[in-house]
Amino acid sequence: MNYFPDEVIEHVFDFVTSHKDRHSISLVCKSWFKIERYSRQNVFIGNCYAINPERLLRRFPCFKSLTLKGKPHFADFNLVPHGWGGFVQPWIEALARSRVGLEELRLKRMVVTDESLELLSRSFVNFKSLVLVSCEGFSTDGLASIASNCRHLQDLDLQENEIDDHRGQWLSCFPETYTSLVTLNFACLEGETNLVALERLVARSPNLRSLKLNRAVPLDALARLMACAPQIVDLGVGSYEDEQDSESCLKLQAAIRKCTSLRSLSGFLEAAPHCLSAFHPVCHNLTSLNLSYAAEIHGSHLIKLIEHCKKLQRIGDKGLEVVASTCKELQELRVFPTDLQGGGNTAVTEDGLVAISAGCPKLHSILYFCQQMTNAALITVAKNCPNFIRFRLCILEPHKPDHVTSQPLDEGFGAIVQACKNLKRLSVSGLLTDQVFLYIGMYATELEMLSIAFAGDTDKGMLYVLNGCKKMRKLEIRDSPFGDAALLADVNKYETMRSLWMSSCEVTLGGCKRLARKAPWLNVEIINENDNNRMEENGYEGRQKVDKLYLYRTVVGTRVDAPPFVWIL
């Protein structure tokens, strides 16, 4: 390769797109490092505090796409207080000051403000794609800036964000000359939508492939929208109540029949179940179905819908046996609890999981909430589906044992990690002893992310994992009896990981301080909502248990934007 000019090598590198592979390339020699640096298009930063914008720009001056993640995963479950951090503003400011030709920005669990969005919209002429997942801090005014100023925008994808809906006219801020829309997802907006503006926008967007509507878009409007966009591939339906207006229903059915490219269906946020049949003609083409927000669709209607969906690959729903017998191509499944107080949802047990594993041989990712589980079921699932990449099982009641034998579920999960050699992500639940972690450490060689809650007996449990799982990147633990001995056993391990979260465990302030001293390249954050100073004032200082610990490797030292309740050691 050294006999080729740089341009040729660069051209070869263009075919290498995964971050891991590009990283490997950069380590081969100085020449390759340099070429790779200048040709890198996509940068992924899994923890926005592991590095800063200045260093990013020094290393990769020519990138076009940036992915940033902010808060730790357990922020999704309200374990991280408001104001913890993850602000995108400094990043956008730094990028705006530089000459980088940013085209795509993907943010997850970050705080985004209207000011940030305004600055973003004005600073990058070729900006094409904005994807915000689980972000907060902005309003529809920010969206209005994006619509007004980003002439070449293709994707505006808002997934599960907290957006302050000012019920303004952001949709009408897209200029009349603007025709390049490909993806529009505003399902998470609460308020009324300017339907006229939306229809006109869709009508002048011949490249529109993905459209996900919010609650406020009713049936007759949907019919008109689909008539304008028969080329649609991915549809999220909003409100769907009014079946009485038969003319609208007929128009919708006619429009749906023309959508022969439709492959993915979601939404039905407010749905009268009878209307689902309008979609039956296109079901046989669907590869992805997400009904997890369709609270009003039950039983027979769901089953009828799924029975039509023979090609399904991705699904989130409640009708499992039907899924097992119909959807042979199924690859991903998510089953959410209907009743979060744990009272209902008696229909989802280990039987459903076993049925799915037997019926869907291509299944590789599952998220499954249920009331009860047995070791026998898990062992069967492991035998049926050795291809799992992601296996997340949540038994609703903490510490619940095998409901038949009253044993811990160690053997069941042990079977899963032993059989699934490619397992990258695992969430465990139910009654578990240190034994399950011994299995995980021994067999889960590819495991990158592990979520533990209400499990284990002693520090040995955590040590098995830290010593065994060489590829571990994110470890998150809550309400488990792991303490300082486990935390401090191998400090250098944390350099190979992105982050560690421990809440309501046995770790003490003294232990954390010792860790911070031993590993200056770690940020060791203690999150203490009530009173940060109390910990030092009373005499139990060293032995005081730490409620929330979040540590992560970083090359840029202590962050400067931490709020008062975060103490960085």
Binding site: D76, E160, H298, H301, F336, H399, Y540, D547
Partner: protein, 194 residues
Amino acid sequence: MEKGGLGLEITELRLGLPGTEKMMKKRGFTEMIMTSSGSNSDQCESGVVSSGGDVEKVNESPVAKSQVVGWPPVCSYRRKNSCKEVSTTKVGLGYVKVSMDGVPYLRKMDLGSSQGYDDLAFALDKLFSFHGIGVALKDGDNCEYVTIYEDKDGDWMLAGDVPWGMFIESCKRLRIMKRSDATGFGLQPRGADE
């Protein structure tokens, strides 16, 4: 974590020195349900609150069961959306009187125990041991009976028009009426063109 004197502290799973407070907002179960109906996403998000509770007791009613912050691990966005659904069903809870023409006594049924019109149809069939009611609810024309309900305003409405959530919020009582009694009132079969 207080438990209101149930004396279960010994069995409680607690991590932290005695006397350390758990740092989370504490609100009672009923308070959470009352405030979660409708728009305030903030309150609903932090809704599943710790009230302690013995996690090992399987037989406890859902209300007394352990409710811990961030458990089950459903993300707050999704929790908020399913909270909205929970609140609408809970508001409509309660038994309503059901009368059927030709039957000399009334029955009572719990609307909250049904998930939708289908379930309701099935439940009504069971209540009166009559297999026609469900059919009536679904596609009215060929059936001997119609199902109507009295709403909050005191008007009698044909069941099945409005979304389920709206229906159980406003339904005060149900009546299964002979279709022959209703003719002359211009009742169109559902789905037909005007």
